[in-house]
Structure formats: structure tokens, C-alpha cells
Amino acid sequence: MPVYIDDKRLARRLLSGDEQAFTCFFDENFARLYRFATVRLPDDPDAVADIVQTALNRALAKMHTYRAESALFTWLCTICRHEISDWLGRQQRYREHIVLAEDRPEIRAALDSFQAPANESPERQYRRTETIRLIQVALDQLPSHYGDVLEWKYVEGHSTKDIAGRLQIGAEAAQSLLARAKRAFADVYASLGATLDDNDNRVQP
């Protein structure tokens, strides 16, 4: 079973009250966890913030139980998933007592009839959106700095020199970091993308 040494070390520093460790913990995980929750609760940004805050609080309270057998972010996602599930359960109980006018079948049908037709087929549109989402999920699943450098380089178009400057490392080190990040991304994306249909997502080298 793998042990995530860096994450374990960060957990120990958090337990000891190291302020820099908290900054690192928050900066590396908050945005990723926020996105993790957002795709599961796309219509409720207030709930997303509350849930992520609760998940982070719970994780910090339970940090002494983190065994580093999975990545810290994976562990956080598990906690966040439980929080989302609890929240949805509570909302379901609440919603059982509310019937919105727009949820009534006849009004729903009328509203649907006003929606404009899409220019491209819904399936193709879905596949494209899903591919982009999976790329973003894969970036989030990587160690935080891997995801960042790939995004800076290939999505935002920064030069390797810019990235080296931003990370305060040499150009060769930045190049090497990018190469490692690309390999890691390919592995993660491969495992995520296994569910996609063959033709719609074939990458043309």
C-alpha cells in the first residue's frame, strides 16, 4: 500500500500548528475541493462554500486519523462527498414539502418548449463538454503544482521561462517539471477517460 510521505508530513505540521502548513494545505486544496463540490451541486454556490468549509473543518479535526494511504486530496474528496450526501439528504427532506410551480408537469412542458435548439447535436455537445470537464478533473487529481504548471503552459499559454520565474526555479527544472507533469496527466486522464466513447475523443497527435 503506498504511503504519501509529503502529505503525511504536511498532516504532522498541521497538527503541530505550523502556519505555513495551513497556508499550503488551504492553497493547494481549497480551489480543487470547491470545483469537486461545484460539479456535484452546480446550482447552489452558497451550499458549495458551506460544504467545503465543513469538509475542511472536519478534515482538520480528524487529521490525526489520516494514515497517508491515499493522497490527502483524495481523503478530502471522500469527506467532501459525505458532506454533499448529507446535505442532499437534508435538502431532499426539505424539498419533499415544497412543490415549485415550475416543477408541475404542464408548466415544465411549456417552459421546455421555449428552449432554443442547439446548433450542434446534443450528444456531441455533451461529449465536448465532458472531455473538457475530465481534463479539468484530471488536472485537479494531480499534485497541485503539476496541475498548475500544465494549465499555465498549455491552457493559458505561458512560456517555460515565465513558469520558471513564477516558481523561482531554473528553466531546466521547469522543463523537467513539465515533462513529469505531462506523464502524470496522461496516466490520470487515461484512467478517467476509459469511460468515454472511442471516436468522439480521439486525440490527433
Binding site: M1, L14, L15, S16, G17, F22, F26, F30, A31, Y34, R35, P45, V48, A49, V52, Q53, T54, A55, L56, N57, R58, L60, A61, T65, E69, T78, H82, E83, D86, T131, I132, I135, Q136, L139, D140, G147, L150, E151, Y154, V155, E156, A179, K182, R183, F185, A186, D187, Y189, A190, G193, A194, L196, D197, D198, D200, N201, R202, V203, Q204, P205
Partner: protein, 338 residues
Amino acid sequence: MTDNPNLPPRESGDAVEALLGQASRRPRPPAKATADVRAAVHSQWQALVRGRRRRRRVVAAGLAAGLFTVAVAVTQLLSVDPTVPAPVAVSARQHGDVFLVGNQSELLPLSPASAVVAGQTVLTSSDAGLGLDWHSGISVRVDASTRVEMTADNAIYLQTGRVYIDTASDENAESLVVKTDVGTVTHVGTRYMVTVKDDELTVAVRDGRVRIDGHYHDAAAQPGDQVRMQGSARPVVDRLPRYGDTWRWTETLAGALDVDGRPADAFLRWVGHETGYRLVYDDPATETTVRETRLKGRVDADPRTELALRLMTMDLDYEIDAARGELRVRRRGGDAAD
């Protein structure tokens, strides 16, 4: 790794670059939400760290007590900032409306995973429940319609309602004293329930030993005892099984259990622990199956729900024999009932 033709060929940098080129920048959380959550989580984390440091200092003082008891104790007292109350527990699980009573007697909703500090009073509504992870490792569960004050890091004051104490997860856990208007309840490594209703104090013991120092009478309780005290009347001792409806509310507040990689036997023993039923395997082959089966993930629902769900995925059935107080497990094929 990349047998699927959809995926970028391994080591093909261009393919990865082309794929990444399709993506847009990952969405960023709103700045205000980031700042708000950072501040709230940071504050919570600092409270937890202060609590840990304080406990560590207390432990260190205990170790040094042989030589410098008085001096160290004074140092400890001086080193604790009296303006910052230490957290005594964290809300591990809750349902319904749970409140903290504020300085002006206003009700402040208690958020999940929040710290509760010494001096705070918790109030639960008529359909609520709260599971607290006490700093010393004890599980304190608060039933509906209960008002309880966390008076110190080793004491609570139950004004009305019902609490359940479980020290089983940590046999070395420090003792927790439950004070009531009728008497004070202390324990030695046990699980028990304390109820205050009107002027009556009821203490039911599942495991271990409990002592009750009443204002008029004292009493000691063993497993299976239920002691009732009211005013100056002599204590009444009844028998109460360690399972059944009286204990059922505590199950919904049981903390989560990490079962990843652990044998199914550990999970079933946890179910037995939480429900009060004795775990019985129908035959040695069943026991072998259970010991050799490894589980995945985390148990987060109440024990009975998890039992039904988990056993569905194994080749096992179970039966709860309420008359005998047994949770019987057998290989699939026998009669199963709840």
C-alpha cells in the same frame, strides 16, 4: 496503460498538449468565498491546535508531577490564556436543529464539525441528535430535547434530557463526570446513558462500572443495571438489557468507521458494539469467511443500515435475535430476518 485509443499515447507529449489545448482554465472559486472559508477554517484550526497544545501541556505536567507537582501545576495554570476557552469536543455527527446558547441566551446554530468550548451549553430540538468527539477520545451523544453544558474538559452538566457516554474507543480515555441536579455520575471505562427528566435521574449501564453520588444517597451500577434517583427517595435499581429500543437513538449518532482493508469481522463487532447485540457466527466456516473478507471504504451510516448494505455484497445473511440479544451471522442460504 493507454490501451484505449481515445487516450493520449504514453510518452506522447504532443498528444497531451493537444488534449490540454482543448481545455479552458479551471474555474476559480469566488474571491469572497475563498476569503470567508479561509478565515473560518483557519479560526477553527487554531482552536483545535490550542486545545491539543493545552492537553499536551497537561500530560507533560502529569509526567513531571513526581518531582515538581506544585511548580508545574502553577506553570500550567499560568500558561493557559484565560480569555480563550479551550475546545473540549468537536461535533462529529448531528441531525435536526442543534444550538449553542449564546451569552444573551440567544440560540446559535451549531455547524457540523464545529468545536465546542468549555462553558458552552448545547441545546437540541425535539427531533435532533448530536454526536460529540470529546477531546480525550470519548464519544458523547446527546439525544433530542436535551440541554447540556460543557462545564470543563472533564465534566458536563446535564440540565435536562439524555446523554450517552462511550469510552470503548479509548480505554485510557480520561474520565468524564456527568453532573446533574440530582447527583453526579462518574465511570470507569464504560458505556452508559444518563437521563434527567423533571426531578428524576436515571442511569443505565451497558458496560463497566458507574458510581452515582446523589445529594441524598449514593449508588453503584453494574452492566445491565438501571438506577433511578429522585429527591430523597432511596435509589431504585431495575434490570435493563444492553440492547433494545432504549438504546436505539444512540446508533444514529455513532461516529464513522474506517473499514478500508480491515476484515469484515471488525465491522460486525462494531455493529454489535453499537447495537448492544452479541455477535454470534452460526458455524466455524462462517467465521472463517468473515475473518478473511476484507472491506473497502468507510462506514458512515447508522450500524443497522450499514449492516444490511454490507452483507448484501457478501455471501452472508444475518438475523437479529432480540429475545437472546444476539446478532447471528451465517453464510447465505439460511433464514434471514431483522
